[in-house]
Structures are given as C-alpha cells and as structure tokens.
Amino acid sequence: MENNNNIQQEQEEIGSPVFGIIDNSNVFTVPEGYFDELPVAILGKVLEQDNELPEGYFDELPLKVLGKTQNEAEVPEGYFETLPIEVLGKINTLSQEQTLPAGYFENLSATVMQRIKAETTEVDVHAEMKQLSPAIAAIGNEHPFTVPANYFDNNIEAITKKVIGKQPAVIVQMGTARKVLRYAVAAVVTGFMGLGIYTIAFDNTQQVSSNSAVMAKADNILKTNSIDDVFNSLTEADITDYMTSKGSNINAALVASTINDADLPTAEDYMFDEEALNDFLKGKNIIN
C-alpha cells in the first residue's frame, strides 16, 4: 500500500493530477451481462446486412473463370510447334545485326586503356602532395640520390679488390702425395680390419686344433689305460704350466695344501722361537 501511495504522490508531483486523482478502481464499466449477449448480437448484425449471393453463384464460378482464361489467352494454331524455330531465327537475326568490327578483341585492351586515360580527369599529383606532405612535394621529380658516373659499372670489382686485396685467390689443389696418402690410409685401415678378423679366426682355429690335439692325446691315454703312468710322469714344469694356464696361484695352492692345523706351530713354539713359522714353512719346502 505504501508503494501505491508513493506512485500516486509521484504522479501528482510529475504534473499529472488527473492520473493522480484516479484511484485504483477500474474506471470503465459495461452493462451487466454485456459479454454474454455479445456473440448473438454480432451474428444478428451480420445477418441483418443484405449480402446475399445470386443462386448457383459458386456452381458457375469455375466455368466462368476458365472461360475468361481461354478467351483472353488464345494461342494461334501450331504456335508451339514453330516456337523454337522462331526463337532461334530471331537470335540469328540479332547476332547478324550486331557484328563486331574486325580486330575488335585484339585492340580491346588498348582501346579500354585509351578510353580510361582519355576519360580520367588528370589529377594534379603535385598539388595533392603539397597538401598531404609539403616536405615530400618539395623534392619534386628530381632523384634526390646521386652516384658518381659509372659507379655501378665498376662497383663489384672495386668492392672485391677492397675486401680481398690485390692478391688473386689462392687455389689449393690436392697434391699427388696427398691423394696417394688417402688411398694408402684406406688400404691400411682395411688391412688392419682384415688382420683383426684373421687374428680372431686364427686364434679360434688354433684353439680348436689345440683342443683336438688334447682330445686325441686323452683318447690315447684312455685306450692304453695309462692314466696313472702319465700322472707319475708329470714334471714340475708340466704341473706349473698347467696350473698357470688355469690362472691358479701355485704357491698359494701349495701353502693351502700343505697346512694342516695339527701340524702348525703351537703358541708355545712361538714363545720359544720367533722363527717357528718360518722354520715350519722351510720344513715344508715352501720358503727358503
């Protein structure tokens, strides 16, 4: 309600006292039952008017329309049969009438350009330039930069001389010695590679042959049943060579095989003689 009062007050202030006076009630009224009778009243008014159509009006309508169309748009007999020929004939006549002058297309571009030139109103470039940029206009048509006479004719040579100097370029050719050296190095490298392959192959062959020799000997020992004989025939050199070839440390092996805990000097032995261990090893022929 407060809002409503405000709006009313506002309207009065704005200067619309009429609206201001009107309160919230509806100002328009209709007689009671007005809308109930309205359709009937409208229909009655429509029926009252004299809009009657003549009898059979709609029955004859299509015929009438058709009749009018037929009468007004009558086509002469055989019209459509001759139509294409007639149209073509007209086109031909027109094209005959509009023949182009000889060499029309050859000169077309030139003619167009000529026309353009002739028709274009000449614009005073200088006047325009003066307006846009007086500084550039002041230059006029003159080329502002100049070079000495024949400047471009000698320019490349002059520059080359200045940059490189008066000496002609030194052309280094590969001497015969260098060429030979190149091939020689290639040959040596190839040879070295071949040597490497040969060495590996040779090493393998040697190993195989050595293996087969060992196998043959072993076979012989077995056949003659002479394992013990061969064993007893082994020399120091045989054994040391063999063990060395297996990577064994012979002295360490000898010491390890010799030492029996029971044989080792006791604590008392050391008390009597500091050299007990040395004596023991000497006794075993391990050290001098």
Partner: protein
C-alpha cells in the same frame, strides 16, 4: 708421407702383440690337459655322445673360471669362482644329470689336489728349490 709412415709403424706396433699371444700353456700344459680329460672321462664314465656335448661347455667354463682366478682379492676370487661354478651347474646337469654333475665338481677338485700333491712331492724330492712369493 710422414703421417703415413707413422701410421704404418703404429699399426705394426699395435698388431704385433696379437701375434705374440701365447697359445695357453704350450706342450707342457697340453699333456696335463689330456690327462685331465682322460681322468674325467673315466671317473664320470662319459659316453662319446656325452663327451661331445660336455667338453665344449667345459671349455667355456674353464675360460670363465680362469678370468676370475686372476683376482687378487681372495674372498672375491673364491666368491666369483663359486658363481661361475653355479652358473655352469645347470648346463652340466643337462648333459650329465645332477648326480654326475656333483661328481664332476668333486673329481675336478680331486684332480687339482693330486696335481698339487704331486708338485709338492716333486719339490720335496728335489730337496728344496722352492719358490718365494
């Protein structure tokens, strides 16, 4: 040209040691090697077929073992040698079976022990001449 000659000299220097490589023990070691093969073949009762499969593996085994034997660190050497033996164990088993593979390791150690003992006996018989480290 100097470079060329230098290259040749250098290559000769590099390649000569390859020719000088020892064959792995020579005649002396070959004798014991043959004895070893005979000894193993007898102890393990290797058939010809088994021998054909066994010795190539053994050669490789020997090579690997030789590599680790060069180690100066004793514990490391023992450990590495054991690793090689374990590595080859399965391959030996495929040829010999588990029992004979076990026997192989025993026989191998036995052969080595006999070698050492023989060497010791020879040294003692010679009445000295032992070696010093």
């Amino acid at each position: 040209m100097k470079n060329f000659i230098l290259a040749i000299v250098f290559l000769l220097g590099v390649s000569s040691p390859t020719f000088a490589q020892p064959g792995g023990g020579g005649q002396n070691s070959e004798k014991v090697e043959a004895l070893y093969v005979a000894y193993m073949t007898k102890q393990l009762s290797l058939t010809e077929d088994e021998a054909q499969r066994f010795w190539p593996i053994h050669t490789q085994y020997d090579k690997d073992l030789k590599e680790v034997e060069r180690n100066d660190n004793e514990l490391e050497r023992q450990q590495n040698a054991l690793n090689v033996k374990k590595k080859y164990q399965d391959r030996f088993i495929k040829v010999l079976g588990a029992d004979r593979t076990n026997q192989f390791f025993k026989t191998d150690a036995e052969f080595r022990k006999r070698m050492i003992e023989r060497l010791k006996a020879l040294k003692e018989k010679r009445g000295g001449g032992p070696r010093r480290n």
